[in-house]
């Protein structure tokens, strides 16, 4: 009989993977943001469960902080930019949603193989590694397959989520100060990126990066 927090970790693993798949299907920025919100909350719950498992109180603090910041503040903040940019939410996709899905499935398979060769299939952590790796790859794919600047931002955030999740699940997290530093980094990163987004919007009247290749007089 497995312990309930192990079950929770396992469930959250499936859940964040689900949100990962959902991100590549959605065309609308609002939905992608919703996925990010759910994924962050899933990771926060998993972090708390790991903390309970290992008896590490600093992981609770990290769970609460990342839940609040990444599950609430950051999505609201970015949602605010999207409204201020006033761009229509539907965007051009380099790859159609259905094809993206199959690519995401392929990435999961790749993550599966890589994680098995990296830590060996006997390791208890192999599946957590697989999910984190898959999410990292899906986040990267998400970033390259979209042309909206805000989607690029979201891609980075998805990858960040995956990396932090991997660190927490595989090595029971870093010292709290490092984790806090990473969270702070995320916030500063968003700030810098948002300034850039507004500069791009101001200079090119569009936040579609595929249009940045044309010359403006």
């Amino acid at each position: 009989m497995m312990h309930w927090n192990d079950t929770l970790i396992s469930w959250m693993g499936a859940f964040v993977l689900l949100t990962g798949f959902m991100t590549v299907v959605f065309r609308r920025f609002g939905n992608v943001l919703g996925c990010y919100r759910l994924q962050s909350i899933g990771f926060a719950l998993a972090t708390a469960a790991v903390g309970l498992d290992l008896g590490e109180p600093h992981l609770y603090a990290l769970a609460v902080l990342s839940g609040v910041i990444k599950g609430y503040l950051v999505p609201n903040w970015i949602g605010g930019f999207a409204r201020r940019l006033g761009s229509r939410a539907e965007e051009k996709m380099a790859v159609s949603p259905a094809v993206s899905l199959f690519i995401a499935g392929g990435l999961l398979l790749a993550a599966h193989i890589i994680s098995r060769t990296a830590v060996g299939s006997a390791s208890a952590k192999v599946d957590d590694l697989m999910i984190a790796l898959a999410l990292l790859l899906i986040g990267f794919f998400f970033m390259v397959s979209r042309s909206h600047v805000l989607s690029h931002m979201m891609g980075i955030l998805f990858m960040e989520n995956a990396v932090t999740g991997a660190v927490v699940m595989l090595s029971s997290g870093l010292p709290l100060i490092v984790d806090l530093g990473i969270l702070f980094d995320v916030l500063v990163g968003i700030l810098v990126m948002s300034i850039l987004v507004f500069r791009i919007q101001g200079a090119f009247d569009s936040v579609d990066t595929s249009e940045l290749t044309t010359l403006h007089g």
Binding site: F26, R27, R28, A89, E90
Partner: protein, 527 residues
């Protein structure tokens, strides 16, 4: 007055004779052979839009038929009517369709109803005639009785043919799976992508224009009121304005304000209905049902305060029949505000739903140039950035005296824009109702002017803004003060031809949604 002078200058150049009177359309008579050039010049110099194209049969031996063109001159608040007598031995004229694309339907209709042919017109198919009378019989001529049965001829529906590999034609209607009016759509598709659409109407032609002939204004009022359900006030109002225009009278102030209230109440329940209908087009049942509840409440308010769910039997030539009094009207205004607030919360549910946004945005784009060229009117044109509203451009009744109000426009041109357009117009409507109620004079002045005996041969023109756009009526009287010609051009008649321009490239299951975003009336075409 420079625009006024420009019109006068134009008339003096092109017409045989012309009249300019206050509060009446400019009128000029133009020779048949100069008509096309005259209108070309009107279009380029005065920026004229074609409001109405129809014909008259004077029923006399010589100079029996004439063609009547009514233009909307945007720079002035007046219309310009141009009459062109046709020689008896040659009932043809040069087609106006190349000049005004929206002349195509009226030209086909004039061919069916009067036997007057437009030369070089791109579309020669019958429009009204579906085989209920022989091809050589022209119902609106004076020698044809509306009370006689004529042999029915079986005709095949004329079609356009689109050919090519993989092109499939899907005929839809005129009898549909749901309880809607008859319209026949021939849709050419490649796979599920729409290639072209040919819409045909007038399957239930009722001959209202013919039936009105020979009646006095009050008798014809019943016909005008019942032409269609949802534009009842607007159609009646246009009719009454035309009669008043012919009689040369104006309505008392109380009636003028009540008419504004009626017209805006009609707009309100129509807009709420259209919002619900668009939600129904994508199967969003919650929003549909809640919207229909609100529409029902609005119609009950109509019935409670004015005695009829469609606000019939209130407007009469010369004024109004009755109204509930100022206190009940103030009460009514207070009932409307909460309904609109509830509408806002329901619509917020719809707009926040990503499937809803996905289905509506970028669907059925009506480009601004198409809306302009085809003479689109109403919320559909305003959602494509064309700022056109009869209430502002040609104010009538209370709209002349009420303080200025906003006519919002949008620029996204898609189904979502048309959805939001209706929402945007509702505050204006509420404000107008409130202002009209506030401005109602308390003194007991009459609410209807008496219609004097109408001078033989006089005519009048009336135009109002319905929930779908501008509805126009032209009325001419005979020597006994009875109606000699009653011609109607409704907003739906102008806007139906817009829909085929919006569907190309959309997928077939989205066509009903695009259609609903215009929510046009079939009965207004099958009049």
């Amino acid at each position: 007055m420079t625009h006024f002078n420009a019109v006068e200058g134009f008339l003096s150049i092109w017409t045989i004779d012309y009249h300019i009177e206050n509060d009446r359309p400019f009128f000029g008579r133009v020779e048949r052979d100069r008509l096309f050039c005259c209108l070309e010049s009107a279009k380029s110099e005065l920026g004229a839009r074609l409001s109405m194209l129809t014909a008259r049969d004077y029923g006399r031996m010589n100079d029996r038929f004439s063609l009547l063109v009514i233009l909307d001159i945007p720079a002035t608040t007046s219309y310009l009517a141009i009459e062109t007598p046709l020689p008896d031995d040659n009932l043809t004229y040069r087609s106006l369709t190349p000049l005004f694309p929206n002349a195509s339907w009226p030209e086909r209709e004039i061919r069916d109803m009067f036997g007057i042919t437009a030369c070089d017109t791109p579309d020669t198919r019958p429009f009204i005639r579906k085989g209920a009378w022989p091809a050589d019989l022209f119902p609106l001529r004076k020698d044809i009785s509306p009370h006689r049965a004529y042999p029915i001829e079986r005709v095949l529906l004329p079609t356009t043919v689109v050919e090519g590999e993989g092109v499939i034609e899907v005929p839809v209607g005129p009898i549909h799976a749901g309880i809607i009016e008859p319209g026949h759509f021939r849709i050419q598709v490649i796979g599920d992508t729409l290639l072209s659409l040919d819409a045909q109407f007038a399957f239930c032609h009722r001959g209202i224009e013919k039936l009105a002939e020979g009646r006095d204004p009050l008798g014809a009022l019943l016909l005008a009121e019942r032409q269609c359900g949802t534009c009842s006030v607007s159609n009646t109002l246009s009719f009454c304005l035309a009669v008043e225009n012919a009689a040369g009278i104006s309505v008392p102030p109380r009636a003028a304000y009540i008419r504004v209230i009626l017209a805006e109440l009609e707009r309100l329940y129509n807009h709420v209905n259209d919002i619900a209908a668009i939600a129904a087009g994508i199967g969003m049942a919650f929003v549909t049902q809640q919207g229909l509840v609100l529409k029902e409440e609005l119609q009950r308010i109509n019935a409670g305060f004015f005695g009829h769910r469609f606000l019939r039997n209130v407007v009469i030539p010369g004024g109004i029949r009755s109204y509930p009094g100022i206190d009940p009207l103030n009460e009514m205004v207070e009932l409307l505000a909460p309904i609109v607030r509830r509408l806002d919360s329901i619509v917020a549910v719809a707009i926040g739903n990503s499937i809803f946004q996905d289905r509506l945005e970028n669907t059925g784009i009506l480009t601004r140039s198409n809306a302009n060229e085809l003479g689109g009117v109403g919320p559909a044109a305003r959602a494509s950035g064309v700022s056109i509203d009869t209430r502002c451009d040609h104010p009538y009744d209370g709209y002349r005296i009420l303080p200025g109000f906003d006519i919002p426009t949008r620029h996204e041109c898609d189904v979502m824009a048309r959805f939001r357009m209706r929402l945007d117009e509702i505050p204006t409507t509420l404000a107008l109702i409130e202002a009209a109620v506030k401005s109602l004079p308390v003194v007991s002045s009459p609410i209807a002017a008496t219609i004097p005996i109408i001078a033989p041969g006089s005519w009048g023109f009336g135009a109002t803004e319905s929930a779908r756009g501008e509805n126009c009526v032209f009325i001419a009287f005979d020597a006994h003060g009875r109606i000699d010609r009653y011609a109607v051009r409704t907003a739906s008649y102008l806007n139906w031809p817009l829909i085929p321009t919006t569907v190309r490239g959309n997928i077939l299951p989205d066509f009903p949604l695009i259609n609903k975003s215009f929510e046009l009336c079939y009965a207004d075409v099958d009049r």
